[in-house]
């Protein structure tokens, strides 16, 4: 099955393969490729590169946000308070509706797919039901 919550007969055939097989001309020389140490090195190097790229992405954002000289009409995030207030037909409290919905969703998502599934046993969470 391809998803825990939507088991289907046809999808089961797609949940069969994991590792990519060796190349056709390499099948008789397994020692030339793979191997535990090389796999560990590949994982470590990939992790280092991804962390490096992520560090640049994440660190450069506050650097740029804090160092940009802004016009006096906007705040540090670059948003005009007045424009936000006027966005919903000049009634600032209208903004509460989408904001509240957004906050509710985030709260529900953290509870449903974060906290509940982390602390509950596997039998208690829908997402971990084994349906074959």
């Amino acid at each position: 099955m391809i998803a825990n919550e939507k088991p289907t007969s046809h999808q089961q055939s797609d949940h069969t393969t994991g590792e990519m097989s060796l190349g056709a001309h390499e099948e008789h020389s397994v020692n030339c490729v793979g191997g535990g140490r090389r796999d560990a090195l590949a994982l470590a190097t990939t992790t280092l590169i991804v962390v490096f790229v992520g560090a640049i992405v994440v660190l450069s954002i506050p650097y740029a946000v804090l160092s940009a000289p802004l016009p006096s009409s906007v705040d540090r995030l670059g948003l005009s308070i007045e424009a936000i207030q006027n966005l919903f037909f000049g009634r600032p409290w209208y903004l509460l509706v989408p904001s509240a919905l957004f906050a509710l969703w985030m709260g529900y998502a953290v509870y449903r797919w974060g906290l509940r599934s982390s602390f509950a046993t596997s039998d208690e969470t829908t997402s971990e039901k084994k349906v074959e």
Binding site: V53, V57, I61
Partner: protein, 452 residues
């Protein structure tokens, strides 16, 4: 079990995609060389200088990459995955074959006309009007095949990938038609009005086609490559229904203030589909991280997924006016685009090709070692390329905001970074040549079929 006709036509999409990957790569390499050393123009024979200047290479590079390589790989993937997950044969393999030939004709015509200077002058919408119409026909034909297959399915419940493909094939048509102003042959909309429509199109091409279709690919690859069911189908569906958010190209322009603010609000809402996917990815990967070192297809996919998260972080940040003020028009944005198109969606497409092509052929990949070379050349080159452009972009932003620094002085300061960009681009392109060779040998080697 796919029929021989289905196998052949889907293979055709992947082989065409791999071929079209090499063309924009070469054009990009030439552009990087021209940026680093403009005098290289003198080396080009005079009769080709008109065709091979930066202004003509750039739209050709973009259009062949996104509509040739990536979109054809997507189309092949959609046909393959839809066929597998619905349990019925394709609506029409013959229609898929006609679509394939027309699609290749479109890319040949686009590359030729753009190099000849026939260009509408609007970003990502450079193709001339007849080719716009052809693209819409192609998308309609692809949509008929995808929807026709789904409507005849034996499988009562639809997996999230199928939902993604249904949405992507349906929504791209109006997005493309509106964004390319197919009704406007006289250029009525100009200036800021045109710009608003143009960037409605640019970002929704990204959201409605590359992200929606790409996540469909990702949700198929994740359980297959990890040998484990998807963590939560419900969470994945939340991601689908909130995916069309984010639009941040109008900031600091003469667009209405309410529109700018609205784009910021919607861009921040992109947190919902981003966290929905990343959490599903993280939880499904639990207990499978060690496989990333062993399986190069899973490694492509994993790095692509994490880079997709980075792309979304950048996208939200770029929607904030402060950050946009700093990086807009700089090389940072160029790097952001490459992170998205190469670092995310292309890496997923590579994983898919490595998984699906051997499956369609019924024999293993020609060489895993070459696939490893492909991975390291691509990731190494991309890291060098993106880092150099991010740093160059931050320097540009700093200089421009400081004021009083001459443009040429800024260009002189960032010139070394263009050398790194060229080197990174060269590594990426060599990686794609290795990839194409590996796929070509897999497809045409005379090895005995595994199934026979």
């Amino acid at each position: 079990m796919l029929s021989q006709k289905e196998r052949q036509v889907i293979q055709g999409y992947f082989y065409s995609a791999v071929f079209w990957l090499l063309v924009p790569g070469l054009a990009g390499l030439l552009m990087a060389l021209l940026l680093f050393s403009p005098s290289f123009q003198e080396v080009i024979p005079p009769s080709f200088r008109g065709l091979l200047n930066f202004g003509r290479l750039r739209p050709m590079h973009v259009n062949t990459l996104i509509f040739g390589w990536l979109s054809m790989a997507y189309a092949g993937a959609m046909l393959y995955i839809t066929r597998r997950l619905t349990g019925v044969s394709l609506f029409s393999p013959q229609l898929a074959r006609i679509t394939l030939w027309l699609w290749n004709f479109l890319i040949v015509a686009a590359a030729t006309t753009l190099l000849m200077g026939m260009n509408q002058g609007r970003e990502y919408a450079e193709m001339i009007w007849p080719l716009d119409m052809l693209f819409l026909v192609l998308m309609a034909l692809l949509g008929v095949n995808i929807w026709g297959t789904i409507l005849r399915r034996r499988e009562p419940k639809l997996y999230v990938s199928i939902w993604n493909f249904m949405a992507a094939t349906m929504i791209l048509i109006p997005v493309y038609a509106i964004g390319n102003k197919i009704w406007d042959t006289t250029g009525t909309y100009v200036g800021m009005s045109d710009n608003i429509i143009n960037y409605f199109y640019v970002h929704n091409l990204f959201n409605a086609w590359f992200t929606t279709g790409g996540l469909g690919l990702a949700f198929y690859l994740l359980p297959r490559l990890t040998d484990k069911p998807l963590y939560s189908h419900g969470l994945a569906m939340w991601g689908l229904w909130s995916v069309w958010t984010g639009q941040h190209h109008q900031l600091w322009g003469p667009a209405p203030d309410w529109l700018e603010i609205l784009t910021v609000v919607f861009s921040v809402l992109a947190i919902v589909p981003t966290t929905a996917f990343m959490w599903n990815f993280y939880k499904t990967m639990e207990g499978r991280w060690l496989r990333v070192g062993q399986d190069v297809a899973l490694r492509f996919f994993t790095v692509g997924a994490i880079f997709w998260g980075f792309t979304c972080i950048q996208g939200v940040a770029q929607s904030l006016r402060t950050f946009s003020l700093y990086v807009h028009f700089s090389n940072w944005v160029v790097s952001h685009s490459h992170l998205a198109f190469v670092g995310d969606y292309s890496l997923w497409a590579f994983a898919l090709v490595y998984l699906v092509v051997p499956d369609l052929l019924g024999r293993p990949l020609y060489s895993r070692r070459l696939a490893e070379w492909h991975f390291w050349l691509t990731l190494g080159g991309l890291t060098i390329f993106m880092t150099s452009l991010w740093l160059a972009g931050l320097i540009q932003g700093q200089h421009w905001l400081a004021g009083g620094i001459r443009f040429l002085e800024t260009t002189r300061v960032i010139h070394p970074y263009f050398a790194w960009r060229l080197m990174g681009g060269l590594l990426i392109w060599v990686g794609q040549v290795v990839f194409a060779y590996n796929i070509w040998r897999t497809a045409f080697q005379r090895a005995p079929s595994r199934k026979s």
